[in-house]
Amino acid sequence: MRTLTDDEVEIGTVLPDLAIDLSPTLIVSTALATMDFTSVHHDVEGARAQGSKDIFLNILTTMGLVERYVTDWAGPEAILRGINVRLGAPAYAGDKLTFTGAVVAREDDGFVVEVRGRVSLGDHASGTVRLVLPRR
């Protein structure tokens, strides 16, 4: 796994899409791995009792998936400085979460990548990731 270098990226560079099937296993295993035991993330009845149609992805996982989306593209040596996400439609079990992104700005010593994670109901997450790439 190679990491992109600073000179290989420019404003407008488009990231490859990443589609993730939101199986109940993914929803539950990520909820547990992020130590989030709120019932809406693992208990279908509990989720329905609170007005949701099914269990859905927790926010800590959304942050983790946004991070993964960007470092899958940039490579392991990319240093993330921050993730700024606006949360929207819930990502329910059985749906598909598709990430798209593009480099939108240069900032200090790094880049700003704009990311959108869409589900069938609309934007689940949209925002920016700030990262620094190694110099050649």
């Binding site: 993730i20 791995a33 392991p76 993730i83 949360l87």
Partner: protein
């Protein structure tokens, strides 16, 4: 709007204003309280928790889990994925009672107690000052930073509540998170009333009978009257059986009567009805007989000659049917 309704609304507005002032004052106190340190992470940053996390998230970055790759990498050792920052200090399943309360808790509770029970996260912004290494143990510190509202949203009226968590390793801040939620009052039912299922048995309304159903809608039991000879007749029809006149009008019955005859229906099932039910022929003092159900008593209590009076039942959003209930003799 009537004066009375105006008065009620004015009272509600005053009540809301009082709550808004109380909430705003609480928010200001919480902002002044500044940063409140919470409990240190139960476990230091460790490889098993990182492995669970990368496995579940599907993150294959070897610098998080492979000691050799990490040693050769940009960090020189294994580091935790930065987006894991909040995971280390999550409360767990049954450790909730041990948590230190944060300046946010009182604000969220006050909103809950005043009907703003809905919650939906709207923003999560994380800043990573540096990556965490194995063995570091973080301590979160929470600061209440903002309250705005009330605002009308698609979910209902609500307040945006914002707070900030800084994670420390020793005295060094390593990461920061801004978190914003919308606490909202779920839309009240009145705004979107549930439609009752339509009652399946509908009367035939035509030019001969519509005066009767118009009466029912107004709470009147109307009996057809011949415009020429004055004889009352029911059920309604186009021609007087007595004088053959087509002229017609109606009177309003007193609504009292006696059971002339009846049956108790047990079977077969009837759509929209629960068996058993009583179908009675009720004789009115005006001299005509009407068919209708007898309610509010056991079928076994119904008998011939039983005094009844008319009542009106809303069957669904549109249909009202006249029925009968026992009357004290």
């Amino acid at each position: 709007m009537t004066g009375a309704e105006g008065g009620t609304n004015a009272a509600a507005v005053t009540e809301d204003d009082a709550f808004h002032e109380r909430l705003t004052a609480l928010a200001e106190r919480q902002i002044e309280a500044g940063e409140i340190r919470g409990m240190a992470a139960t476990d230091p940053v460790n490889l098993p928790m990182i492995r669970h996390w990368t496995d579940a998230i599907g993150d294959a970055n070897p610098l998080y889990t492979d000691p050799e790759a990490a040693a050769d990498g940009v960090h020189g050792e294994i580091v935790a994925p930065p987006a894991m920052i909040q995971v280390w200090t999550m409360p767990g399943v049954n450790r909730g009672g041990k948590q230190v309360s944060t300046p946010v808790d009182d604000v969220l509770r006050t909103l809950d107690e005043n009907g703003y029970t809905g919650v939906v996260a709207t923003n999560c912004e994380q800043t990573y000052h540096r990556y965490l290494r194995l063995g570091e143990r973080t301590v979160p510190a929470t600061r209440f930073t903002g309250l705005s509202g009330p605002k009308r949203t698609a979910l209902g009226e609500g307040y945006f509540v914002t707070w900030d968590v800084t994670w420390y390793s020793g005295d060094e801040p390593v990461a920061r998170m801004l978190f914003r939620v919308l606490k909202f009052r779920p839309r009240e039912r009145e705004e979107d009333p549930p439609k009752a299922a339509p009652y399946p048995l509908r009367p035939a309304v035509n030019r001969d009978t519509e005066f009767f159903w118009e009466g029912v809608a107004k709470g009147e039991l109307r009996i057809q009257k011949c415009a020429d000879c004055g004889e009352l007749r029911h059920p309604p029809g186009p021609v007087c059986p007595s004088c053959r006149s087509a002229g017609r009008t109606h009177v309003v019955a007193t609504g009292e009567g006696e059971v002339y005859s009846y049956v108790v229906h047990h079977h077969p099932p009837v759509p929209g009805r629960e068996t058993p039910f009583v179908v009675a022929v009720v004789e009115l003092p005006e001299g005509v007989r009407l068919v209708g159900n007898v309610l509010e008593c056991e079928p076994s209590e119904v008998g011939i000659g039983m005094p009844v009076r008319v009542t009106y039942r809303q069957m669904d959003d549109e249909l009202i049917l006249p029925m009968w209930v026992p009357r004290e003799a």
